[in-house]
Assembly symmetry: C3
Homo-oligomer: 345 residues x 3
């Protein structure tokens, strides 16, 4: 089949900040083996994970000051990929001993990288996620899941939340799938699947933080997609009729990065404006969220992929289309158009 | 190499009844991913294990009344594969939303399916196994083993029981392989390897149920093959000179179904006319039988397959032929002839 | 890529003596599936691990006197591969029932085999390892590690011990990699990387056996390679100025045998002339050595191989060359030349 290329001039998430805090991270990203690390002064760096000497992964080494040291024979490389130390012989750095690097930036709890033209790697193009850097209002937890499937299957999953009714027993709601009615909107390159549910019973993750005696609330669950596969989820519930900002707000991010054609990385964050100092609440929320992804979503998505073999674009197989598929189909179209423009340029 | 097609107009075992009693079963059968289930009213059904909406496996869903519900977004399908419910939007069932189904029938503790022309799927063609539905006379235990080898290697194993002497220490008998002398008979499409051993010491599984003071008995161990790979095994022992039906009767079935060219399913049953109410006897018999298959036969058969790589017909490699190979060679010839007729038609 | 053939007229190690002492050993060697065994009288034998009857691995059988018996149907083969018993039918041994054999010899704690012209398989060509058969002076321990990488990557590892400084925290020494200065010598087909370190602090494995009050010693660590991939390591330390034989001597062997292009076997021995009756010392030394290989060297070497995919000659990728690579590059050249001569002949 014809593989669809990746969008290259875009920021992708490569690692959680909490991962690089522990040391170099090796990860397959857009078909490339990369090492992500943070120098002692705090600079994020993303290099090819292959020493030019004996092709050992640099990720098996460790950070030394502002560089990474190969764990096999000790060559060191700075964040630009330049070899800055050869400890052997006369210490001369051989020619052609640099490694490829990619623009990198750490923000919002994620390490971002730019696989396209470095000159266009503007940090302002990283989507704004203010709730992830507002510790006075929000506590944020982060997680990571490895998925053996094409990244767009994960996007499909998130843009059609009607699956919650069938796949996630914990979040089932009275009224069944009929209560999942969704409108959608496209603004620029952003696709949003909107679910506004006025005056419904307290439900989902919000029930854990709902302290009012009211048994019903106004709920919202709006999932926004931005190319290539960056999603933010405005989840919240308020007293019936009250403005959204007064209620429980649980804004989330779901960042999907292709590893290769049949494999992707799923980075997520869940913020909350309730019990923000409670480690117990954070742990409970992490366990629930990670468990739902690992035990319910990922097995289903990976089974889909196995069922279509190595096909990367399931639309090419002519699936039966249902009502709630519309936002995901639109997102796929927008991404195809952007990739086509980029490839043509 | 030239792959030999499967015989299509034939009943195969797809699952144990005890498996579908617990819910939908996913299984690779003759190269197809199928879901086998039993509706609430008890009807057996076999469908393609792939929802036409997002290609999720239906086996991850559950049985609802007379249909199976997809566990991802809730489409429902009846035993004929027809989509009978779309819970989304206006509830209209989209065109081209049915899935492939195969004729299915549950009998003798097995779920059978017919991968050929549905019009020819006559339930009377299922081989007669009366001991498996005669609970007043026989207790029956069932088991399943997955085998990473071509299905005919399992047939070879069963049609040449001289291997018992080398592979199964528990069933070795005095006299060694010389005591395994076997005649064989072909009647129609049935090949039987017959071993009648008058006046020998009590041996094999029968020793567990032999209560007479006699130290010797007349034993029989007759293995019959029917195409494509359905085997029944008449194992028994009587007082010397007494008619067979008076002794210990342990009629067995060994049903082999191809999963793919290099993988098969081995379904087995062992009936007995002794201690038929003893759960302890059933458990002991199950443990011994399953253990012999899993720890002794299957590792040997899988090692054979690994040793010949992806070859599916080991006769094409010119093996050295020994005396006890004759029944298996005859069975292979009969099956080849049937497949050739079917392919030509 | 063009695969480089194996050197065929050479002795390789196929198994440890301690392995064949327990029964037949199955091993992939130079792309061939072989069974290695020792007859009851003590003769070493290496045969193709595939019975000509049903292609079962002979290694699943057992040694009977001077032959090996197939564990499936009982054919027996002598060390030359000749079928010497058919227990079935009229007991006639069928034509074409022999299996391929290779010249084999057991010595120095290893079973050796010769994959080339049998007429040239002279046991005198096995390298001399006197310390492995001098139990009055030396205790010897042996080990085995499976490595998913081309065998020359293991040779590279051993001929450039500067990696110790980075990969093996236990053996790091004061002075760092600067203390690893190495000269090298080529004599005939032997390449030796020599490290003589006069008057250094007690270090490495030798520290466990150093009983003198001196805090410093003269250390040596000379690694010699012989084609195809047989290495001996002269490790020792003496009182400063004293002759080598008076000190701690820990002569080692590191024998690498290709399994296939991307897989090899690493057999090792470590002798010592101290505490030779101490089982505790042997156990400690075994645990340290096996642990260093399994947890430090092998993961790095396998990661190198994964990083270059299926490339078998990393020099073809134009690696950056450093000072300590010289001996390994010379060894590769000598081996290439020998293989070229053999292929041309």
């Amino acid at each position: 089949m014809t593989e669809i290329p990746y969008l290259r001039n875009a920021w992708y998430v490569g690692a959680l900040s909490s991962e690089v805090a522990k040391g170099p991270v090796s990860r397959q990203l857009l078909g490339q083996s990369m090492v992500l690390f943070r120098t002692e002064s705090g600079k994020a760096a993303v290099l090819a994970d292959r020493c030019p000497h004996r092709f050992a992964p640099l990720s098996l080494g460790c950070v030394k000051g502002e560089s990474i040291e190969c764990g096999y024979h000790g060559l060191r490389f700075d964040p630009s990929g330049k070899c800055v130390l050869n400890p052997h012989g006369d210490h001369a750095v051989p020619r052609r001993s640099d490694v490829v690097s990619w623009p990198a930036h750490e923000r919002y709890g994620y390490v971002w990288f730019w696989p396209g033209d470095p000159k266009r790697a503007d940090e302002k193009l990283i989507p704004s996620l203010p709730f992830n850097e507002d510790p006075k209002t929000f506590a944020v937890i982060y997680g990571y899941v490895d998925v053996a499937a094409h990244y767009e299957l994960v996007v499909d999953n998130l843009l059609d939340l009607s699956h919650v009714e069938y796949l996630h027993p914990l979040f089932r709601q009275s009224g069944g799938v009929a209560a999942h009615k969704t409108s959608y909107a496209v603004e620029g390159h952003t696709v949003t699947a909107k679910r506004l549910k006025p005056n419904v019973e307290i439900q989902g993750l919000m029930r854990f933080f709902w302290t009012s005696p009211s048994k019903r609330f106004d709920a919202r669950a709006n999932m926004s997609w931005n190319p290539p596969s960056l999603m933010s989820f405005d989840l919240g519930g308020t007293e019936c009729g009250a403005p959204p900002e007064e209620g429980v707000c649980m804004p989330q991010t779901h960042m999907i990065t292709p590893a290769s054609d049949l494999h992707c990385h799923y980075f997520w964050s869940v913020a909350r404006n309730r019990e923000i100092d409670s480690e117990e609440a954070s742990k409970k929320l992490y366990d629930i969220t990670q468990n739902v992804f690992e035990k319910e979503d990922v097995p289903m998505i990976e089974a889909q992929q196995r069922n279509v073999g190595e096909v990367t674009d399931i639309l090419s197989l002519g699936p039966v289309a249902l009502d709630p598929d519309t936002p995901a189909v639109r997102a796929r179209q927008i991404l195809r158009d952007l990739i086509r423009s980029e490839t043509a340029a």
